[in-house]
């Protein structure tokens, strides 16, 4: 008994010892140059990697160490540090999934406060959410970069990415936006993991409380965030992503041809990474949307079951905001559909778009046993295109171009059997003639292969063809 306590104490001491020892690397006492400080930070990151990833440590690094890594990421003093700290945080999170699932589960079942056991005091989180952060009324600018991010910080970050200058002419901007994008990517990963774990239990237990306490829900529920603006910013990130241009090694004029090799590399390296990170950011935005829609769906379910309370607040479902934005700003539609690839939610967005303009049929009554609600609604949309008069009225509300774009994407997402049926049955001959499937494909692609087809002289022909095929396929 005595002995085991001794060992426990020893363990505690030793983990504190490791912490002190590693943190001492960062100790900046004594005169130092910038280079030395950077070297120390690199040595620190490497030491953390060695102590907690390479060697089996058993427990995740203590809070202080996480804070220090997070600070290095946000400070962005050098690209090397930024990348190394981002990589380390990502790998640590993978290595130590910091949610204690069994804990939250049992506390839920016993009616305890799940949030406490999940947001363990000892485990670090990059987010500062919930009631205690509401008290801190500090300005966003005066914040220490080691501090976790609160809801306004998060929306500020998204805003920064959305409004970053299109042409990165200056190294400072490039570096800043790299840090922003990496930070965003990391934060979305954290939100995703947290939500994912909770959602698994939620699916079994139908306990809304679990999801309500998720980081995402707390983040979006904060009154200090303009939710609508956040979604708008996200959409503009996506639309910017679609017109990327090549940022080659030499396309940044002010950086070009520095005679000094080292300086040259320092300047070129961030530019090289820019395109890739913009793409990654786009994916992160999409993931954020998907999480958000999952959350909305769960909330709706909870509402119908009477599990929500006033504390849940009222928030417009994200999908409605997205659809409104897309309908309002036509330039967004194409890049959005192009970038958004998660098929289940994509079709949902497309259907909602249509329902804004089409009379919603009473689907449920006609549902047959083998088709889902989604199938039914989709078929209902197609049926609306089935007569000349209704097509005409649709085109009045939605432009023909938009209608085709939406249809094309919905076909693509759903792997609409019609579109490719000929290939399925005729893989070797590769003959396309007399194949109705082909018609749709041509309809959605023009001679340049673009989805946007319509050219007013022949769009009627195509609509006619589509019409014919749908008719023959709609039950």
């Amino acid at each position: 008994m005595e002995r085991s306590r001794g060992i426990k104490n020893n363990n505690n001491n030793s983990s504190r010892g490791i912490e002190e020892n590693i943190m001492a690397i960062l100790d900046a006492s004594g005169v130092k140059e910038a280079r030395d400080a950077d070297d120390d930070r690199l040595a620190f990151l490497e030491a953390v990697r060695a102590a907690f990833l390479v060697v089996e440590a058993g427990s995740p690094p203590p809070r202080k160490i996480f804070e220090a890594i997070f600070e290095i990421l946000r400070d962005g003093t050098s690209l090397e540090l930024t990348m190394a700290s981002f990589q380390l945080l990502t790998e640590l999170d993978k290595h130590y999934p910091n949610m204690n699932l069994s804990n939250s589960d049992t506390s839920e079942l016993t009616g305890g406060r799940g949030s406490e056991s999940i947001a363990d005091r000892e485990t670090w989180s990059p987010f500062a959410l919930g009631p205690e952060s509401a008290h801190s009324e500090r300005e966003a600018t005066s914040k220490n970069s080691a501090d976790p991010i609160d809801s306004s910080g998060f929306s500020f970050l998204i805003q920064n990415i959305a409004q970053a200058p299109e042409e990165m002419k200056c190294l400072k901007y490039v570096k800043k936006s790299l840090v922003d994008m990496l930070l965003f990517k990391y934060l979305v990963n954290v939100l995703e993991r947290d939500f994912f774990h909770r959602n698994i239990i939620h699916k079994e237990t139908r306990n809304w409380f679990l999801l309500r306490e998720s980081l995402l829900s707390m983040l979006l529920g904060s009154r200090r965030v303009s939710y609508k603006n956040l979604v708008k910013d996200c959409l503009s990130i996506i639309s910017r992503c679609s017109h990327q241009t090549d940022v080659g090694l030499h396309s940044i004029p002010s950086l070009e041809r520095s005679s000094d090799r080292v300086v040259h590399d320092v300047e070129v390296a961030p530019a090289v990474a820019l395109l890739e990170l913009q793409k990654e950011t786009c994916v992160a935005v999409q993931n954020l949307f998907v999480l958000n829609m999952e959350l909305d769906k769960a909330k709706k379910l909870a509402e119908t079951q009477g599990c929500t309370s006033r504390a849940d607040g009222v928030r417009t479902p994200v999908i409605e905001i997205i659809v409104d934005e897309l309908a309002y700003n036509e330039d967004l539609l194409f890049p959005f559909l192009q970038a958004f690839s998660e098929s289940r939610w994509k079709i949902e967005i497309i259907l909602q778009y249509f329902w804004k303009y089409l009379p919603k049929p009473s689907v449920r009554t006609r549902r047959s046993r083998n088709t889902s609600v989604e199938d039914e609604t989709f078929n209902a949309v197609l049926r609306s295109f089935s007569s000349d008069s209704s097509v005409r009225s649709i085109i009045k509300k939605i432009s023909a171009e938009t209608a085709q774009l939406l249809l094309a994407h919905s076909f693509q997402v759903r792997d609409f059997p019609l579109v490719f049926s000929y290939i399925k049955y005729n893989p070797i001959k590769n003959t396309l003639t007399n194949s109705r499937a082909q018609v749709v494909l041509i309809t959605v692609t023009d001679s340049c292969g673009q989805i946007r087809l319509i050219n007013s002289s022949n769009y009627k022909l195509q609509l006619h063809c589509m019409h014919e095929i749908w008719l023959s396929n709609i039950p």
Binding site: R35, E91, H250, E276, I442, T445, G449, I451, L461
Partner: protein, 447 residues
């Protein structure tokens, strides 16, 4: 260098004297404020500031003399000319023909000549991959055309779409229920290697790192790598992660990446970490490295690991780059730990003369131990870090108490015998690192 320090010393003393005078003057100043004093004071201040400036210049001079090197190599030189992405054979591909010959083409007026543009559209909008997946077939000409676009097109949209095409037709390991797909042409080692060469990659597996520094003058206009390198890496990732048994390439089931090819590309990826300009893509490189490592069968891995480590160790110079090589291996899973440890070990073996090649024992460390204290501290730092990685990335080491003991002695030497006032470059770094490691080993022993 020594002379400069002496000069500096002199300057400093002069400046100090002047400053003291100034100080005593300024004490009197409030009492005797006449013009003469003022002028005197001004000139002294000017003198002082002159000295300070002079000092600063000298200090800067010393710094550049003594500059600490950075890791980094120009891994890419001049790009070669890229193969053209216009393939005449694409016009005769069956897919295009079937579109053109379709009855309904009258409405669209697609011609064979415009075929490439048409296919580019299909590619960008994702239809080409859909067609391939539903038809479970990719024609040779299409496969080659898309591959070339991915690696050589300067149009970001096209090359990204081309990469997406390949990534989506290669089934992932967890997609068990997907139908097999017949791919009539699949890029092999020569194609991927050829692309690297076209980008100007210089570190072929036969090239010594030291030969690189000499011929590093590249024409800035054609300096590699192009942005396509991202897709090269991504394609490699997709190949490694693909579940190869279900892909029929050229009508037979084949492996996408053989272990010998994987070994070569693993070496390439590790070398890419040396290129400072690719730092921003390090997350891609990390992923690629782990994917390649996972390709090997268990029995292949150990031999490959040793072979690769030996080859890299032989080629690298004993500077900060060899540390970078070791540290870029993430060590997040057993195989990458093994590689990390092995590479560190092999570099050490070469550092300490090849006759110790086969003796994985303590003599290695003793020989570090006997190094004179006034030796190259940078080198000492490198040894220290390498040994650390060798020992601690390797779980077997726990069973070798003798080596660990000698390691302890070595650490104590480094941390105690170097004084904290030693201003030589890297002296304090060696000392700090050694005392950090000493602390953490002590802690381990206590447990």
């Amino acid at each position: 260098m020594m002379k400069k320090v002496e000069d500096l010393n002199l300057l400093y003393h002069d400046a100090f004297k002047t400053k003291r005078k100034c100080k005593s003057n300024s004490l009197k100043a409030p009492i005797h404020l006449d013009d003469e004093e003022d002028i005197d004071q001004n000139s002294k201040e000017a003198l002082l500031s002159h000295f300070v400036d002079e000092c600063q210049k000298q200090v800067q001079g010393i710094k550049t003399d003594d500059e600490i090197p950075l890791w980094g190599l120009r891994v890419f030189g001049n790009q070669k000319s890229f193969p053209t992405s216009v393939l005449p054979e694409i016009q005769s591909c069956k897919l295009l023909q079937s579109f053109v010959n379709n009855d309904l083409n009258s409405g669209v007026e697609l011609s064979v000549e415009k075929g490439q543009v048409f296919l580019e559209g299909l590619l960008i909008n994702g239809w080409l991959a859909r067609l391939a997946l539903t038809g479970a077939h990719v024609e040779k000409s299409i496969a080659r055309w898309v591959f070339n676009l991915m690696l050589y097109s300067s149009n970001e949209e096209l090359r990204a779409a081309a990469c997406d095409f390949w990534c989506s037709i290669l089934p992932l390991k967890d997609e068990v229920d997907r139908n097999p797909i017949r791919i009539d042409w699949f890029p092999g080692f020569p194609e991927l290697k050829g692309a690297l060469e076209a980008y100007g990659f210089l570190l072929d597996s036969s090239v010594d790192f030291s030969s690189l520094a000499a011929k590093n003058i590249a024409n800035p206009d054609s300096e590699g790598p192009p942005q396509n390198i991202r897709f090269w890496v991504k394609f490699l990732i997709a190949c490694c992660q693909a579940r190869y048994v279900n892909i029929l390439i050229e009508s037979q089931i084949s492996t996408i990446i053989s272990s010998s090819v994987a070994e070569k590309f693993l070496g390439v990826i590790i070398c890419l970490f040396l290129e400072r300009r690719l730092q921003g893509l390090s997350f891609l490189l990390y992923e690629c490295m782990l994917s390649i490592i996972s390709v090997f069968a268990d029995e292949e891995w150990s031999t490959c690991c040793e072979k690769l480590a030996k080859s890299l160790a032989r080629r690298t110079k004993k500077d900060l780059n060899c540390l970078r090589l070791v540290e870029c291996i993430s060590g997040v899973n057993p195989r990458s730990k093994q590689l990390r440890s092995e590479l560190a070990f092999q570099i050490l073996v070469i550092c300490f003369n090849s006759k110790l090649m086969d003796i994985r024992n303590s003599r290695l460390l003793i020989s570090i131990n006997v190094k004179e204290k006034d030796c190259d501290f940078l080198l000492m730092y490198i040894y220290l870090a390498l040994t650390e990685n060798w020992l601690f990335s390797n779980p077997l080491m726990e069973e070798k108490p003798l080596i660990l003991e000698i390691w302890g002695v070595y650490l104590r030497n480094c941390s105690c015998q170097i004084t904290s006032t030693d201003m030589r470059s890297y002296a304090s770094k060696v000392r700090n690192k050694a005392s950090y490691l000493l602390q953490s080993t002590h802690r381990k022993d206590k447990e």
